[in-house]
Subunit: 743 residues, 2 copies
């Protein structure tokens, strides 16, 4: 009797930590691009979608590196560049290429081979993607193939891959090839030029630079095989290929490792040389140790950032999934880049940075990983010149942040949408008129400061952001009808563009100026050097402060006294009323169902707008009766056409004691990526929905806030079936743990 197989069984199925895994089983080719997004691995420097080592028809293979933008000629705006593909790791079994081909598995000699079984798991606890397949070659040989990959969190320039092959039936001849694929594009747009490949006896390498922005990249790979490894140049593709060929005896197994390193000119002067150097070191350290180092870093991340929910496994898994994707896209060692709306996991929104980062993604980082939050805020600080340039170009003073931001800090929102079926294009006004972004950034700076107590940051960097954007607003408001107004705005509800006196914008500007006035006093009292510097550089005259105070007092806040509600903007209620709830269940947005032309003339709201205001400012917005009235007015009109909406509604509903709705909205938010309920996950993770989910739990259900003394307290109201919620926040450098139970 051979008891070996029993042991092998255990080895083949590593115990997976519970509720830490995203699994695909069996293979779902119809969800290929959705699952590629979910299975993204990353380390805050770069991220790579869960595309297959051997490729698959229709896959969207991307590796996006923070900060590497390029504005290709003939395109409207710059975009984050798809880096050379480090994944290729291909296997031939008795001449049959391993591919996920679904053939009749009953054939003992299937043409092109046959996939007999498949399971893929992303272990979020250690940031490891693992894919197992059972495959029959044309020869009839059966192999079990296991791929693993990670982007090292310990050394962000190192990418590890492992390949295990077991000869399950037959003694096949195995040919393994590995290389770097440099013929990559962003949906056909070419961003790399000056591509040079090279190789030595044991590694291949590549250098390239972006066509417009001149970023240079170096990438190197090696294949660690047990047997011989040769490198030959594929002349057709000008590509050096590493190859290992051997016979695998029946029931024996073999392990091969591919290591890849990458640098850009944003990191070092000579990226190619550094990548080669790093690769040599990595090969000496070896896969196992690299993986262990990586795992230790993840362990630290989760110690601080995990929320544990007992009594709701879907909530538990969704929250970890959300936090995982925030963590893999948050730069650790770079304070000159930020997280785009789709993180680094897809081409959506071209890697551009929106308010999503400051109001949705930042809060979980501020409260659990403040160093990472600081990096992201510094990105905005470094882009003050761009914001000043935009203000000036529009005839204003101070700093006016772009609605979409890249490396340059200039406005990069495209002016026109992609062509409609009839060839017409819709004008995109957000870059012109969605001006609340400047205040959103100020909000994040203050939230960071209040939680961290990082006075140095506030004095040296943050204050300048808050004050120069306040200067902008002072120049932006209009004096009309004996009060201050702001015309032609887009609030969070982007279905209604260029409206006058968006209540969200007007009220947030008042709040912004209040904070600016307080901040000036704080600077004067605490750091005269910075006070003097900023008063001089930003020209903070007494007249300017008086103007701010006057705006605070006399800003027009649209409000219906009879109904005791805020008015989203004057005229809103004159439009057609559509009961959005009738449109249930729906997959598309109500806007898509009604058509663009009609929907903009209705009261259908894209996403939390007045409700967003209530989330951000809480009871400052109005008495609790007004809050309830606002909710009852706007919630039934809201389409949730944006993934940013449900989590904010969950948060506010929890505060209003609308328990069932809070839970329903939370679950809606939790499903956005995992169940692809907006149908566009192939473009990347909804970063804001991820951050919003965390806020719905911590700020919403758990009711965490800073009290009048600035101390964190909770006023919790968790769903009935949740037995407990445990989380840790970092308050002024000190970790505080909260455990909420129904009692």
């Amino acid at each position: 009797m051979n008891r070996l197989s029993y042991l092998i069984l255990m080895k083949n199925k590593p115990v997976q930590p519970r509720l830490w895994n995203i699994e695909e089983f069996p293979f779902h080719p119809e969800k290929l691009n959705h699952i590629e997004t979910l299975m993204t691995v990353g380390n805050g420097y770069l991220a790579t979608r869960g595309s297959f080592e051997e490729g698959y028809e229709g896959d969207i293979v991307t590796t996006l590196i923070h900060g590497i933008f390029n504005h290709a000629s003939g395109t409207a705006v710059p975009e984050l560049v798809n880096a050379p593909n480090w994944l290729p790791f291909e296997v031939h079994i008795d001449g049959t290429p391993f591919r996920l081909v679904n053939q009749n598995e009953m054939s003992l000699n299937p043409r092109g081979g046959a996939l007999l079984g498949y399971r893929q798991q992303l272990n979020m606890h250690i940031g490891l993607l693992r894919r197992e397949a059972l495959f029959r070659a044309e020869s009839g040989s059966i192999v079990r193939i296991v791929f693993e990959r990670f982007a090292s969190l310990h050394d962000e320039h190192i990418l590890g891959q492992r390949l295990d092959i077991v000869a399950v039936d037959g003694s096949p001849k195995i040919e393994v090839t590995a290389y770097i694929e440099h013929t990559v594009t962003n949906n056909g747009v070419i961003h790399w030029t000056d591509i040079k490949t090279g190789h030595t006896t044991n590694q291949v390498s590549l250098s390239a630079k972006t066509t417009q922005s001149d970023y240079r990249l170096g990438m190197s790979s090696t294949l660690l095989a047990t047997g011989d490894m040769t490198i030959t140049v594929d002349r057709g593709n000008q590509r050096p290929v590493m190859k290992s060929v051997f016979v695998l005896p029946h029931q024996e197994s073999v392990t091969l490792v591919k290591l890849t390193t990458v640098y850009t000119s944003r990191d070092v002067t000579n990226p190619l040389k550094e990548s080669i150097h790093k690769l040599e070191n990595a090969a000496i350290i070896g896969y196992e140790k690299l993986l262990n180092q990586h795992q230790s870093e993840w362990h630290k991340y989760w110690q601080d950032s995990d929320i544990q929910i007992e009594g709701d496994e879907i909530a538990q898994l969704s929250l970890r999934f959300a936090m995982y994707h925030i963590l893999i896209s948050a730069p650790r060692h770079d304070n000159d880049v930020s997280i785009g709306a789709k993180t680094l996991s897809g081409f959506g929104y071209k890697g551009h940075v929106f308010w999503d980062t400051e109001l949705f993604i930042l809060p979980p980082l501020i409260l659990t990983q403040p160093e990472l939050a600081r990096n992201l805020l510094m990105y905005r600080y470094h882009r003050l010149p761009g914001a000043r340039h935009k203000a000036k170009a529009n005839g204003y003073e101070g700093a006016m942040y772009p609605w979409e931001s890249t490396d340059t800090g200039e406005e990069t929102t495209p002016q026109w949408g992609d062509p409609q079926p009839d060839g017409s294009r819709i004008r995109i006004w957000t870059g012109d008129n969605e001006q609340h972004i400047s205040t959103d950034i100020a909000y994040a700076v203050l939230q960071y400061w209040r939680w961290t107590g990082d006075d140095t940051f506030l004095a040296r960097y943050g204050a300048e952001i808050i004050l120069d954007t306040a200067v902008f607003w002072g120049s932006r408001v209009e004096t009309k009808n004996g009060r201050y107004e702001i015309s032609r705005q887009i609030g969070p509800d982007e279905y209604h563009e260029n409206v006058d006196n968006s209540v969200f914008t007007n009220r947030m500007v008042v709040w912004h100026l209040e904070q600016a006035v307080s901040l000036v006093h704080w600077l004067k009292a605490n750091t005269l050097v910075d006070y003097n510097r900023l008063v001089e550089s930003l020209n903070l005259t007494q007249a300017r402060l008086e103007l701010w105070n006057d705006i605070i007092k006399n800003m027009f806040i649209p409000f219906d006294d009879a109904q005791q509600i805020h008015i989203q903007f004057p005229g809103f209620f004159d439009m057609e009323y559509i009961p959005v709830s009738h449109y249930y269940p729906r997959t598309a947005s109500v806007q898509a169902i009604l058509g663009h032309q009609r929907s903009i003339q209705t009261q259908v709201i894209k996403q939390a707008d007045v409700v967003m205001l209530m989330a951000l400012l809480g009871e400052e917005v109005g008495a609790s009766e007004v809050m309830v009235n606002n909710w009852n007015t706007y919630f039934p009109r809201t389409d949730h056409g944006s993934s940013l909406s449900p989590s904010i509604h969950a948060w506010v509903a929890a505060h209003l004691g609308l328990d069932d709705i809070a839970l329903e909205q939370f679950e809606h938010a939790a499903e956005i990526d995992l169940r692809n309920n907006k149908g566009n996950v192939q473009d990347g993770i909804h970063g804001a929905a991820s951050g919003g989910l965390w806020q719905a739990v911590v700020f919403g259900f758990c009711g965490l806030y800073l009290d009048e003394k600035g101390e964190p307290v909770v006023e919790a109201r968790i769903p009935d079936h949740w037995k407990s919620v445990t989380f840790t926040v970092c308050y002024r450098g000190e970790r505080r743990q909260f455990t909420i139970t129904p009692n």
Copy 2:
């Protein structure tokens, strides 16, 4: 402001009890037949798959009524007959038929209409299937459509359907039609003849009889509409159709109800008349009250049969799902029918009854719904004549139950499988040689008796089953080599057919005869009347009892003294060894991968065989060292090619303290129907896997058994992450609740 929509929103989304729902969202046409099976509704009298009221290409619409078998000419064996379809309930919106068509939802006037949204939920807590759709007609009108259906558990002849329509956009003309579809077949096989349709002013009806078995059926339907309802006869189909036509004003809603009643000649002499009479009563009671009555019965079912697991939601949902499907297929008022291997939820195995019922499905009923269990055992009692006939025909004495059983009690296993691609057919030997079925039934009788203390049942009915099958075994064993042997058997491992001395069979026969001997003594001591009756009718001479005792002592039990293991059958270890664990992950069975020819010459085992023996007889099988050795030998060789296997392995692994494996096997079992991991759920629910799952928890993890005094006790070992398991069992007419916690 119109706050109506807020209320409607709440109405539209009834609060679903947590972990009681199976949901499909959005529409998954690629899983159509899988989900149809999952969404089956039933009441122990009949069950109907979750096919759509309006139909869908490729659907498998079935209603199966217990006991209605028919042997159509030209077919090999009788099968459970697909009853006339009571579902048709069709809607036209401005002339566009409502269908689940996925069109470009952006078109405002889509040809053929467009599905804008979809959600289907089976609420297992009350046995209600609900399907919601948002649909745009060609005219541009948008309607929200909600279907509900249930098969009344309160009055099993009543079937209820409700249709709600909301005019979400536009004021469409609505045409609703409802009818009974009588042109039904079993995959093309026609079973109904003498079909007569009829109608009055407010109902349609149908009578028919089966072609060979002469069962008569009557079915009647009425449509309760708010407006006018007319009935016209569709001449082409000879079908009376109920119709209601009206204009639905913008944003108004309408509710229509369809009620259907059904009887067969198994219930009453005049099924048509009874169905009409019942329908009239049902219409007076009305949908709401019928649903309430139905719901109350479900409430009682779950009070006794629910297992509550804290700490594992997938386990919780899977267990409820398993029990739901057992309950909807368990006859309540009929002790002359039993549950087929695929319950009443699909055509698989033609509705035939196997050992699956007695050893897998019965235990949860014995312990939680003993009245239902008794009905199923009475089915076997009533089929003793068939079993005696089979014994006689094969040259044996006593009662030899058929491997596959229908209404007649005769052997109905087909002799030949369906043709292979090359036209050849494989001989099916189970009907000839899988003889352990008789002992399996005896096992169930005794299990029922031990838990219920139902002495009357044992004395009057059960004893006759146990003893006459013991008589069979006395005539079946062979005297060879100075011992008793049994040749040409098929044990649970059906990959190895017609083997001599299957250890499972031989050992179970010994156990069976031991029980028979004890039972004779018990009868003599407790009920002399029954004792005398049975001694006479079964000819239980002293010589026969001596023979039984001699077989008990001298039966050949294949055992390897050196290895201290049971041998599945002599010669087993001479075959090729295949490490099954290498074939991971796989979707197909190892048999399918290796091919039938090769696999039967290997040690690959279809399912728990020696391990099944260990589950059934526990420590009676051998010392704990032998149990461990057996496990280590057979588990690595087991394919789990049968859905019966994983749950038994979970149960035994839990007893052996193999916690990780127990959990893994449990999860495998839990996924069989819900994730379709055997790929054949379209043929119906795996009834045995459902019952096995319950046993894995109660007998395996919770370790429930009857101690030497016959009292229920637990020796629990639940998975680490399970916080608690709570269940109720009925012991001798008294409910006992157990709560297991890790401590």
